[in-house]
Every structure is written in C-alpha cells, then in structure tokens.
C-alpha cells in the first residue's frame, strides 16, 4: 500500500496543506518547530485516532494506492469524540477499517512502521533482560504489542500474587485470612464452650450457695460456742434450783391481797351500815286529808275562773251604769208622753214610715202640678213639702229649744200659709180629690202612730226622729238586759265558789282576796305533800341500802372463810401460812429469772437447745478450728466469684457483642478480596500462558525467517555474521565473523541501533502493509554506519518517508535515496 497524498485540513499548526509522497522515498526537512513531527503525528492520528482535544477540530485525509491500482482514502474528522470518526473508501466505496489495516494497531504500527529516535535511545536505558526481550519481541513481528501487553500484565500479576512471596497483595490478604481464621477458630472453641460455661456458671452458683450456707453454719457454731461460755454459770445454777419450780405454794400469790381486801371491805361495810342506820328520818302525816286536798286542788284550778267572774261582774255593773246614763240622755229631748221603754217602734215601723214619706211626697207633687196649670194651679208634692217644711222646721226648733230659729220659721210658715191659701182657691175641684188623698194619708199616719205607740199629730220628720230614738232606746234596753244577766251569772258562780272555799279561808276574807288565799293554801299543801314524799323515799332507800350492806358483809365473810379453809388454818395462823407461800414463790421467781436470762442470751429455742447440750456434754468447739474453716471457705468463694465474673463477661461478650459474627464478616470481606485478587491474577496467568504458546508459535513459524533476514542486513552493515535466539531461554546472541559471540548489551550503541533497525527492516519487509516512517533514526550513528544503513534502505522494497532537521542527513538522503523533498 503506497501513500500517495497527505492532506491536512486542520491539525496543529497546519491548515489546509497537502503533500504528495514519492512512491519510493520522501523527505520532510525543516528546522525545529517547522512541523515535521506534526505531519508524522497527523499520519498516525488518521490511522488510529487523534489524541488532541476536540477543540482543535482536527481533520484530514490520507490517500493510498494499492498494488492493484485501487485508490484508498482514509479521512478522519474530530466530532463527538476526541479520536474522531474514520471513514475509509476504496475506489469511492466505503469499506471496513480491518480491510485496510489487516490487524495493524497503533502499537504494532509504532513497533514496525515507525522508527524514531526515542525508540533507539530507549535501548540505552533497558536492562540486559529487557533489552533482550525487546529485541526478541521485535523479532516476533506482529505479536510485539501483544508481548508488550503480556509483559505489563506479568508485572501487574507479580504485585497481586507470588507463590513464594509475602509482599504481594494476595499473599498479604491470605496471611490476614489466616489470622482471621485462627481468630474464628478460637471463637468457635469459645462458643463451643458456651453451654459448658453456662453449666459451669450454674455449678458455681450452686457451690457458692453451699459455701454461704456452710459459712453461716460456722458463724452459728462460733456464736453458739461463745454463748455457751457466757451461759454456763447461769445454766448450772438453774439446774441446781429448778426443782423448786416443781413445788406448789399452799396459797396463791394473791392470797394476801385477797384476804386483806376482804377484811378491808368488811370493815368498810360495817361502818357504812352504822351510818345508814343513823340516817333514818322521822316522818309525820300531812295536815289535809286526801279529799280536802282534792277539794283544794279543784278550787285552785277554778281560781282563775273566779277572777274572770269577778271581772265580768264588775264590768257588767259599769256597763249598766253607762246604759242608764245613755237612756236618760235619750229620754231628755223627747216629750214625756213618749215612754221609750214601752214604745214598739221597730224596723217594720221604720219601713212603713218611709212609705208614708214617699206617699206624702207624691201627694205634694200632685198639688204642685195642679198649682202650675193656668186655671188650676197645680201644686206638686215638692211644693207642698216646701210649704210644710217651715212648720216642720219650726217644730224641730221648738223641740230643740232654738227660739231664734223658731221665730224665723214661724214668720216663714205664716207667709207660706198665706201664699198657699191664695193658690188653692183656684183648684177646688181637683183639690177635693187631692184632699181625700191627703185625708187617707193622715189616717194611715194615725194608724201608724197607734201601732208604733207614738202620739198622733206629729210631722213625719218628727216621727222619723222618734223612730230613730226608739230604736236606739231599744238597743240600750237589750244591752242592759244582757249585762244584768251576765252580772247575775257571775255573782251566782262567785257565791258558790266562796261557799266551797270558806273552809280554807280565814274568817272575814273579802271576795277579791279569795283566790289569793286559795292559792296560798294550795301551795302550802303542795309543799307539805312533796316533803312527805321525799322523806318516805329516803327511808325506803336507806332500808334497801342497809339490806345490801348486810348481804355484802355476809358474802365477804363467806370468802374469808374459804381462804381460811384453803390455808387449812384458823384466822390467827392464816398470815403465817401466807408468808410461807410467798417465800417459796420468791425463790421460784429467781429460778425463772435465771431461765429468762438464759433465753435472752439465746432467744432461738433450737439454738438454745444445742448450746445447753454443749454445756451439758462439755463439748464446745474450738474457735481456732472454726476460724480456719471460715478462712478456707472465704478463699474458695473469692475464687469462685472471680471465675463467675469472668464467665459472665465471656457469656455477655458472646451473647451481646457479636464479636464472632464481626470476625466472620471480616473474614468474608477479606476472602472476597482474596478471591478478586486471585481471579485477576489467574486471568493474568492465563494471559501469560496464552502469550507463551503464542510466542512459541511465532518463534517456530515466523521468527526464523525474520531473524535470517535481519542477520543478512546486519552482516552487510557490520562485521557480525549471525543473529540467534536461544530456543529455551530466548537469549538473543550475535556472532561475529571471527566466531566470538556477544550479548546485545555488550555491543556498542551504534551497533545496538543497527541490530534493532535490522530487525525492524526485516519485519517491514516481511509484512509491507504500510510505508516506513523514519524520524531522525540515523542521528546517533557514525558516518560509516549511516552509509551502510542508507544502502540497506535503498534496497528495501518499501515506501519510506524521512523526517529530519539535520542538513547532513538531508544531503545523505539526496545522495542515497533521492525522491520527493519538502522543505518546511
């Protein structure tokens, strides 16, 4: 494939530049920064992608001519990606990249088609092994990049794991896992003991309870021994005197007190009996008999009624006197012919009199009407009444003794009479009828007077006055009769009362004083009766009391006799017996007191029994022995407490902290790390295995031809005849024509570079897919070697592009290669 044209649309300093390459050799000459390397970098970028920022918007194309004359266009343009999109066309038709590159990659390109100063200079920095490997890899043609990758993986793998190392990551992780596994194992042992520890804890608890019991028992023994010592003297005395307790005193302890009390009571009762006897009262009979007393009681009860009668009597007398005065006052203005006491004018007479008044008024009205008429002057009753009125008033004035008024009225009546007579003369006929009415009226008046007991001939008004007086007089008379009856009744009752009370009154007692005397006499009687009753009651009580005292004395005497019988003696020797019993009782109390003190010292009966038994048997334990046992128990207990605490902590740790689970988690995590590391390591080892077999295949199938071709070129350029690579160790060796062999590192720098270039040229010749790009590759060589190399390059059937800034190389190229030359 021959490069025909380079077109940079935009890349670095170049914009829209085109260069056409010679079919054999092209030189780009320019000083530093002229853009040589940019062109070379552009070509590599079109092949395998730009590496500069997308902001540069790099773009351009390369045009190739195939062996068959086909035109290949590679066009790359930065777009979404930094590397840019590559489009390859063959004769205008888009084709796959692989069809052009045939497996060529950037690295394989750099290791085969591109020779630059850096690659050559790098050889100086390599170790002998690395240099050998580089030469070998170079000799292995297309797998060189693979071998490089494999080498990088190998180094990575060494960091991951080494079968015999300790520092690699997996090795360290495995050691860590060992430690975690050991920790897990310890924990598992511990957890396996969990139940045993629980059982042991229970056992310890049980044993500690036993120890506590034993310690308590020892303390008890110790206390009992000490108590036995304190109690022994008392207990011995108690045993000596306890027989006294079996004796029974002849008299109980209260015999003295009882007997003394009985005698004291008998004495007191006898004295009381004498006093009672002296207190009997003298009692005399009351002055009134029962009947008299009852009579006096009734009189006393009626005394208030007597007072009332007396009052009524007096009041009636006063009322009668007043009525007498009223009657007399009423009688005075009446004519003597009217006896108020006999007149019968009552309510019927009053009513009848009223009718007469009405009748009279009617008649007077008729008279007045007659006097008003022209011929006949009608005179009404009212007029008539007016005419009569002066007469009536005159009569009244005379009756009441008003003489001035009487004169005036008499004159008036005379005048009226004259007037009436002149009036009536005109009405005689009608007046005759009226006169009859009047006559009839006066007859009725007379009749009324007769019935009423009043004298006839009075004016009706007078009659009305008289009737009113008669009615008043009648009321007075009724009242007088009532008071007279009342006075008579009171007088009669008082007379009877006085008659009954006379026996209780002093002679000459006035009626008004009777009730007071009766009351006094009744109170005296009551006081006398009360005194008598009290004396009787007192006498009865004293009699009863006297009987009670006598009964009590008898009872006490009987008790006294009982005590004497209990003592079995008479009264004279009783107190000696009492004193004997009391003495016995006092000694018994002392014995009991000793026992009480023992009980106070040893309150618990079971303990007391054991202590007294110890005293009886004289087997009190040794305090030293007890102390020794106590010390041993305390030590054992302390040990058990520590063990229990330790176990409890362990159990708590197992139960609550979850340490075992935490370690297992750590182990799982570390294990995963180890698995990941080893997986990666195994992939790398697999890559190494694959590389090994790949290398073998290439060593067997392709390397010999490459080596042979390289050896031929190397021999032409130097005095060395042969290049070999060891079949087992791959050791690269060059053999000089004089038979001396050298390792690559033993060669001079220029010779090493020629050796490397021989291999590279052989590879390009082996697979001439792309042109060979030489970037200052000859700079470090001396002139003879450069001349030899130029000669070899001239024979190489591959298109070449040279890049240099050295004029001598420019000159040498012109002489050795010639072709198209660009000065930048």
């Amino acid at each position: 494939m021959r490069l025909y044209r380079i077109h940079i649309e935009s890349f670095g300093r170049w914009k829209h530049q085109t260069w056409e390459a010679d079919e054999k050799s092209t030189l780009f000459f320019g000083w530093n920064e002229a853009g040589k390397s940019t062109i070379l970098s552009f070509i590599e970028s079109v092949f395998f992608g730009f590496t500069v920022s997308t902001e540069a918007r790099s773009a351009g194309s390369l045009q190739f001519v195939g062996k068959d004359g086909s035109i290949w266009l590679l066009e790359r343009r930065q777009g979404r990606t930094k590397s840019g999109d590559l489009r390859i066309t063959k004769d205008g038709q888009t084709v796959k990249e692989e069809e052009f590159f045939q497996g060529m990659t950037r690295k394989s390109f750099q290791l085969t088609c591109r020779v630059d100063l850096d690659q050559l200079q790098r050889m100086d920095d390599l170790s002998p092994d690395d240099m050998n490997r580089m030469l070998l890899d170079t000799s292995l043609a297309g797998i060189a990049p693979v071998l490089q990758r494999s080498e990088a993986l190998r180094k990575e793998g060494e960091k991951l794991f080494k079968p015999r190392g300790q520092k690699a990551e997996a090795n360290r992780t495995a050691v860590s896992l060992d430690e975690l596994a050991a920790s897990i194992s310890r924990w598992e042992d511990k957890l396996d003991e969990y139940k045993l520890l629980n059982q042991r804890k229970d056992t310890i608890s049980t044993r500690m309870a036993q120890i506590d019991e034993e310690a308590a028992s020892l303390r008890t023994k110790q206390e009992e021994a000490e108590t036995a010592v304190r109690t022994a003297a008392l207990y011995t005395r108690w045993k000596e005197e306890k027989e006294l307790l079996e004796k029974e005193p002849r008299l109980p302890s209260h015999a003295r007190r009882e007997m003394e009390t009985i005698e004291e009571i008998i004495q007191e009762l006898s004295e009381e009996k004498a006093v009672v006897k002296e207190q009997f009262p003298d009692i005399s009979a009351p002055s009134l008999t029962k009947e008299e007393a009852a009579q006096l009681e009734r009189l006393h009860e009626d005394a208030s009624h007597f007072h009332m009668c007396l009052q009524q009597y007096d009041e009636a007398g006063s009322e009668l006197e007043l009525l007498q005065d009223k009657e007399e006052d009423l009688q005075k203005p009446l004519p003597e012919k009217i006896d108020l006491t006999v007149s019968t004018a009552g309510s019927a007479a009053r009513e009848q009199l009223q009718r007469l008044f009405d009748q009279k008024d009617q008649l007077k009205k008729q008279e007045q009407e007659m006097e008003k008429r022209p011929k006949t002057l009608p005179v009404s009753n009212a007029a008539r009444t007016v005419l009569i009125l002066p007469y009536v008033l005159l009569a009244a004035a005379l009756l009441f003794g008003d003489w001035t008024g009487a004169l005036f009225l008499a004159a008036l009546a005379g005048t009226i009479t004259l007037l009436r007579r002149s009036l009536f003369t005109f009405h005689d006929s009608e007046m005759a009828g009226l006169k009859r009415s009047w006559d009839q009226f006066y007859e009725e008046v007379d009749e009324w007077c007769r019935k009423s007991g009043l004298p006839p001939g009075w004016d009706l008004t007078e009659y009305r006055e008289a009737v009113s007086m008669l009615e008043t007089a009648s009321g007075i008379l009724d009242q007088r009769r009532y008071h007279e009856r009342k006075r008579q009744t009171a007088s009669a009752w008082m007379d009877e009362y006085r008659q009954q009370a006379d026996a209780f009154l002093p002679p000459g007692t006035s009626s008004a004083d009777v009730p007071a005397y009766v009351k006094q006499r009744w109170e005296d009687s009551k006081q006398e009766e009360k005194t008598f009753t009290q004396l009787v009651e007192r006498r009865d009580w004293l009699q009863e009391r006297q009987h009670e005292i006598e009964t009590k004395i008898a009872f006490r005497e009987a008790q006294k006799q009982d005590w004497l019988e209990k003592a079995g003696t008479d009264e004279d020797h009783f107190w000696a017996v009492v004193e004997e019993a009391e003495a016995l009782r006092e000694r018994q109390a002392e014995v009991r007191d000793i026992w009480t003190r023992i009980c106070t010292l040893i309150p618990v009966e079971s303990q007391r029994t054991r202590v007294l038994q110890l005293i009886d048997e004289d087997q009190m334990p040794s305090p030293e022995n007890i102390h020794e046992q106590q010390t041993a128990l305390a030590a054992e207990r302390e040990k058990l407490v520590k063990e229990e605490t330790s176990i409890s902590l362990s159990l708590k740790e197992m139960e609550e902290e979850g340490t075992y689970e935490k370690i297992r988690q750590q182990y799982t995590t570390e294990k995963r790390l180890l698995d990941d590391l080893l997986e990666r390591w195994m992939v790398i080892e697999a890559a190494q295995a694959l590389t090994t077999t790949l290398r073998k295949r290439y060593e067997e199938e392709k390397q010999p031809a490459v080596l042979q071709r390289a050896a031929d070129r190397f021999a032409r350029m130097t005095e060395y005849k042969q290049i070999t690579a060891g079949p087992d160790d791959g050791q690269f060796t060059v053999h000089r024509s004089d038979g001396v062999s050298f390792q690559p590192e033993e060669l001079s720098r220029g010779t090493k570079e020629l050796l490397y270039l021989s291999l590279r040229l052989a590879l390009v010749e082996e697979n001439p897919v792309l042109p060979l790009f030489m970037d200052e590759a000859l700079v470090n060589m001396d002139a003879p070697r450069r001349a030899a190399l130029w000669k070899e390059l001239a024979d190489l059937p591959v298109q070449m592009l040279f890049f240099t800034c050295h004029e001598h190389l420019q000159e040498e190229w012109r002489e050795a290669a010639s072709g198209r030359e660009y000065l930048l």
Binding site: F48, T81, R106, Y194, E655, T668, I684, A689, T692
Partner: protein, 393 residues
Amino acid sequence: MADLHLDRPLPLPPGLDDDKQDWLRKAPLRALEKAVTAAVKKQVDFVLISGDIYHKADRSVHAFWAFRNQMVRLSDAAIPVYMIHGNHDPVSAGTNYFKLPANVHVFPPEGEAVWHWTKTGGGWIYGFSYPEPAYTETPYHHYIKQHGGDFHIALLHGQAGSDTSHAPYAPFQPSELRQLQMDYWALGHIHQRQLLMEDPPIVYPGSLTGLTRKETGEKGVYEVRMPSSGRPDLYFLPCADVLQHTVVTSIQHLYHMDEWIQSVKRALPETEAHILLTVQVKGSGRLHQLFRQQREETAAVLESELHSFSCTLMRLDVQTASSTRDTNSPVVQDILDLSGREETRKELDQRLEGLHMHGSIRRHAAFPDEQTKEELLKQAADELLLTLEEEVE
C-alpha cells in the same frame, strides 16, 4: 416470615469502614426487629417462622440472643410464635442456648399439630423441624389434617420439586400439598419471594434480608388475613432496610463514561432502603478498553458519582467483549485459536500450581475447575486483545 439467617455475613467489598460494615452486617437483625414491631403494632394473632433462623446454628449465640429478645417483645405483647428449624439450623445443631419465652412453640422433628385458640374459636397449626441439616424425604406424612378447627395452617421448610436452584430438601409438589387440604402453607428455604399456588396459598415469603447479590428486591414478611370463608389475603410488609440490586448495563453505542454512569443511575430503584449495588457491564464498544484496563478506577468514579445515593457498590462486574475478536487479523486469530488449545491449558495449569504451593492460599481460596479455566483463558485473550483495541479517551 422465613430464612432469617440472622448471623450470615454479607460478601461486602473491601475498604468499607468498620461502622458501615457493622451496620450492613446487622441488617437481618434490624429487619427482624422491624417485623416484630409491625406484628406488635398490628396486634396479630400469631407469628409463623418457617426455618433457617440462623445461618450457622451451631455457634449462633449472638443471633440467638438477639432472636430471643425479639421473642420476648412478642411475649410481652401476648403474641404466640410458631416456628420450625430448617437445614441451616436443624435441631441437631443445638440451638437451645437460651430458653425461649413461653409464647414460642418450636415444632419437633417428628412433627405435630398444635391447636391455637382465637377469640372466635381456634384452628390447627402443623409443622416439623429438621432433625439434621440434610432432610431429603418428602414431608407429606407430617401433615395429617385434624378434625375441627376454623383453619389449618402448615409450616414447611422445603423445596418445590420443580425448583432445582437449591438442594432438594424436603422436596414436595404443590399439587400434592393441595391434596393435604390446608388453608395456608407458610414455606421457607427459597430466598426469592414467590407464590407457588393461589388456592390454597402456598407461599415462600423469601428471605428477610437480601443476603447475596442474587437475592434482589424488597425483602420482608407477609401479613396474612384469614377471612371466615374464602381465600386468605396476603399483604407484603417490607422489613429490610438494606436490599440487593443488580444493574445490567451495556457499553454498546456509548462513547463516554458519563453516559454509562447516567445509565447506572437511571437503573437504581426508588427506595428508602440502602442499596447493595452490583453493576454488570456487558456488550462491546469503545469503552471496552477503559473498563478492562481501568476497572478499579472506573469503580471508584462510579462510587463517587453514587455518593448522593444511599448505596454501596458491591461489585463492578465487567463482562465487556473485545470488538477485535471479529477481525481477521492473523494475530487476533492466533490468540483466539490458542486460547482454546490444550497446550495453552497445560501451560496455565503449570502456572496455577503456584496457588497449590502456597499454604495460606490453599486454605482460603477455591481452585478453578475446568470450566473456570476456560473462562480465564477467554478473559486472558480479551486482555491481550486490548492492546489491539483502538485507544479511547
């Protein structure tokens, strides 16, 4: 509830601080506490636990202590507990470190039916505990339906016959369980929540916490309400405050790492629980080389980007494939060819002998089987082909 595995360690990534590691490790204990709190709050009639309370029952002292404390809480609330032991905590493991409170009834290995009184009557509860870690008999004979009772509930720690993801412990067929005429089957052993049958309900509540990266999703317990007639109603109560979640991403058509990170963020579930995140990266594309060569750095970047989420990156599982596999480059073809050759396998075996030679590694690491070696060589080929990949930024 079932499969508490209270003391099971989590496969946590290295580098977590101790506090976080402890907090994550105690997730099952917290989930149990939350479940018990819910039971007390709801004043349930009783609590059923279908086995595997402990993961390493022979030494689960701490887990047992914590479990007992929760049982005491239920006891204080007068809530009975019926439980069985499973393959992880069989009776032979001796889990009787402490005496459980009287409200807890543990079914014996020979099985029994227990009468439970309710306010309106009562019913039968059946179950049996594993005597040994391995119990491979069919369990039907333990569930003889009793006469009477308002309900019949069975506890079983076992494996449905069609499920081959676990060892066949107490294998059963759901159709056979139905023949036993229970009203409800409370199952344990399978950690993934599933309803084997609706009538009667044959239910795996799943593990109480997501303990491995396969046990994804919300974890908790079922609240079952049994009407006087008709099917029981099931309500799932999430209890775990930590959940496993796997995000599978592809780098195909991705040009930048940012795009991939956003795709991971988008795939995170909306939950209040802390997420234990496993991220799988698959496909081939421009980011392949980056993931392969800078996996640790990429994981660190992702962790940093997920900082605002309550999340722990458990594993970045890179399974990207090289695009150069499809090229006809002689070198690529040689590598791929040789990765499957016996001579390469033998070369690998020789190199792996170093593992066997190392005592500590031998104790803690599992050695790869043939299938694993094949996978190793495949990954190795990808590693070598990386050098042929186009470089990306």
